[in-house]
């Protein structure tokens, strides 16, 4: 272990969330280890059911883990209470997926934005300034016009900017954004993605973007974690993960992404169909039934995340 460990903003160790239903155990999140440094933008890539949304909820203490721990700025998130928990709730914020669901339809933007300020005990005199400032940050300069509006009077793109503004208004140091643009149209999405880059650069806040969309993560995130069946299978600089994926799942994923051009140079890597009825995820590799390279060891022994290149980790027995 190196000396950096104390400075990580988010330090996740062996984090698990197992659900028990009808005598069987669902390993939604199964032993995650990763860190997010201050100001670092990390993408969490995975398909539906991979545990990425549960991971986001665990990071914000919206659901308790069944194992492991999360340290936020050195403090154990699970044991926070009282003032410490309240402070955590202002410093770590969630950006919702669907802007139309995230905003109360009966609240004006002013009501929606002032709610977190009131909860945090910000005096009335300061609130208007804070709201105008944060709307400027999300490129909605006409604060007076925006604040009087109801959600139905705004476009999806404008509303998503306000959702982002609400997450930023208490000046957090960490945000969790779960599929932040999946509900938006292409022409609008580009603007929000640019905005996220601007916010990343201007505010220097740490963020984790949870998405199934490789192109989005490529565009916004400096580092990428790839999840498959509750585990992290790859962790590295985004450009490396996209250009030289190490884990067979990541390789298949990247090869399957279509590009908006006629020349599609990459041949998709075929995978075997998933084993019907699922796998026993307590042993072996979670990708062993679909992996084109699986061998005996993959069935018997769980691969741990290991360094495979500069700052690039992968959990695969093929990697030496």
């Amino acid at each position: 272990m190196d000396a950096m460990i104390d400075t990580a903003l988010v330090d996740v160790r062996n984090l698990s969330k197992h659900f028990h239903s009808g005598g069987s155990t669902v390993r939604a999140v199964d032993g995650l280890d990763f860190r997010i440094e201050r100001g670092e933008t990390v993408g969490l890539l995975g398909e539906s059911g991979s545990g990425k949304t549960t991971t986001g909820r665990l990071l914000l203490r919206l659901t308790p883990p069944t194992g492991g721990e999360i340290r936020f700025d050195g403090d154990d998130v699970g044991s926070m209470a009282g003032a410490a928990l309240k402070r955590f709730r202002t410093r770590a914020q969630l950006v919702f997926q669907n802007p139309f669901d995230a905003m109360n339809p009966r609240f004006t933007m002013r009501q929606s934005l002032s709610e977190p300020l009131i909860n945090a005990g910000i005096p009335r005199a300061e609130r208007e300034d804070r709201m105008a400032a944060v709307l400027g940050q999300v490129h909605l300069p006409d604060a007076a016009g925006v604040l009087g509006k109801y959600p139905h009077q705004m476009s999806g793109g404008q509303l998503q900017r306000v959702v982002l503004a609400r997450a930023l208004i208490l000046q957090p140091v960490f945000i969790v954004a779960d599929e932040p643009v999946s509900m938006l149209d292409v022409s609008v999405r580009a603007g929000i993605l640019n905005l996220m880059r601007d916010v990343r650069d201007a505010l220097g806040l740490a963020a984790i973007y949870i998405s199934h969309d490789v192109t989005l993560v490529r565009y916004v995130c400096v580092r990428t974690l790839v999840m498959y069946r509750g585990r992290i299978v790859e962790d590295g600089p985004t450009a490396e993960v996209v250009r030289r994926p190490r884990h067979p799942y990541t390789q298949a994923l990247i090869s399957a992404v279509p590009v908006p051009r006629v020349e599609q140079n990459r041949a998709p890597i075929p995978l075997r169909p998933a084993r019907p009825g699922g796998l026993d995820l307590a042993v072996g590799c979670g990708f062993r039934d679909r992996c084109p390279h699986a061998f005996e060891r993959c069935f018997a022994e769980r691969p741990e995340l290991r360094l495979a290149g500069r700052g690039h980790l992968t959990a695969c027995h093929l990697d030496p």
Partner: protein
């Protein structure tokens, strides 16, 4: 900058003419709402050749789903077709009697709705659902059961799926079942509404490959409705781009993706992130589409178009041919090559 004009000439010269299967002209569909008539499709025109795959592309509310649904006769109760014609294999679908239209729609045009879970009945096994559709085409008994197994095989599913309920299948498997249902009566045209949108990337690619393979093997024509340019680029021969109820540009995929003539198409291509060129800044299109209760008089994109001139705001440009097989509705399509270069600059779209 590569010489795009030269590539353009290549693509159009090597294309073989394909017999036309479907010809939609000036289609108009309105919805009755509490706020008055919404002109959801307002003069849409496009063609589809035999055994071609057409991507009908546009953003939410542009009328792509409504246009496609009016081909298959599955419009919502408050919708009404108010004009235009739909020539399909030599007949005008819009002037057929209800009964004739229905028989065409069951056997010749099949529809794959947006969410496969909604198109399958949760309380019946897959085999029963296939048999029901086959029964509509008078295929019954042993022959029907044999055909049901064949259909699943065609979409890459094992026969064991026959006895499964929809909830026992993954999203990708359900989507394959929905495609199998569409293929049941050997249609000549399949209309698929966002068939892969809800699927994960790897599954999406597998389903697209299956669709393309079937389309080639069975010589069936496909209209794929999607907002995803990358999906269209991957599998469609032709593209029609819709904006505010109208087709603003159509043509062979390589031409539309590389040599777009309409500024909206140029904007869409710029706004789409490309995994292999992700470092550049994305260029958004500012503003939002017009209210279709009361669409503007001129070009509907003028409000958001960086190249709009006075006449664009007063008179609507017709869909005209800019090259063989390539149509665009823009007053400035003659200047498309230079506008395309400008459209790639982020500053062009900043206002």
């Amino acid at each position: 900058m590569p010489d795009l004009a030269a590539q353009d000439a290549d693509h159009t010269a090597t294309r073989q003419p394909v017999p036309v299967l479907l010809s939609v002209r000036d289609l108009r569909v309105t919805y009755r709402t509490s706020r008055g008539q919404v002109h959801a499709v307002d003069g849409a025109s496009f063609d589809l050749g035999q055994a071609e795959m057409l991507g009908l592309v546009g953003e939410s509310g542009c009328g792509k789903t409504t246009a496609a649904r009016s081909l298959t006769g599955v419009l919502a109760g408050n919708a009404r077709i108010t004009g235009g014609s739909v020539q399909f294999a030599g007949r005008d679908l819009l002037s057929l009697s209800k009964q004739d239209a229905r028989s065409v729609r069951w056997t010749e045009i099949a529809f794959v709705p947006q969410s496969a879970m909604n198109s399958l009945d949760p309380v019946y096994r897959i085999e029963w659902q296939l048999l029901e559709v086959l029964g509509r085409g008078s295929i019954r008994g042993k022959a029907a059961r044999k055909r049901a197994a064949e259909l699943l095989d065609m979409v890459g599913l094992p026969a064991s799926v026959l006895s499964a309920f929809p909830h026992q299948l993954s999203g990708g498997m359900r989507q394959r079942v929905a495609i199998a249902l569409a293929l049941a009566l050997n249609p000549v045209l399949i209309v698929a509404d966002e068939p892969v949108t809800a699927l994960d990337v790897i599954v999406q690619r597998e389903v697209l490959d299956t669709m393309r393979d079937l389309q080639k093997r069975l010589h069936v024509s496909v209209i794929m409705i999607t907002h995803d340019i990358a999906v269209v680029a991957y599998c469609c021969d032709k593209i029609a781009v819709m904006y505010a109820g109208q087709v603003v540009e159509s043509g062979p995929s390589p031409v539309l993706l590389g040599q777009a003539s309409h500024p909206y198409t140029m904007g869409l291509c710029n706004a789409f992130p490309d995994l292999e060129r992700a470092a550049d800044l994305l260029v958004p299109i500012h503003g939002s589409p017009p209210d279709l209760h009361d669409p503007p008089a001129g070009c509907r994109f003028a409000e958001r178009c960086p190249f709009a001139q006075d006449r664009c705001r007063t008179s609507a440009p017709p869909l005209t041919q800019v090259a063989p097989g390539h149509m665009a509705a823009c007053w400035r399509s003659a200047e498309a090559a230079s506008l395309r270069l400008l459209a790639q600059e982020a500053s062009t779209w900043m206002r």
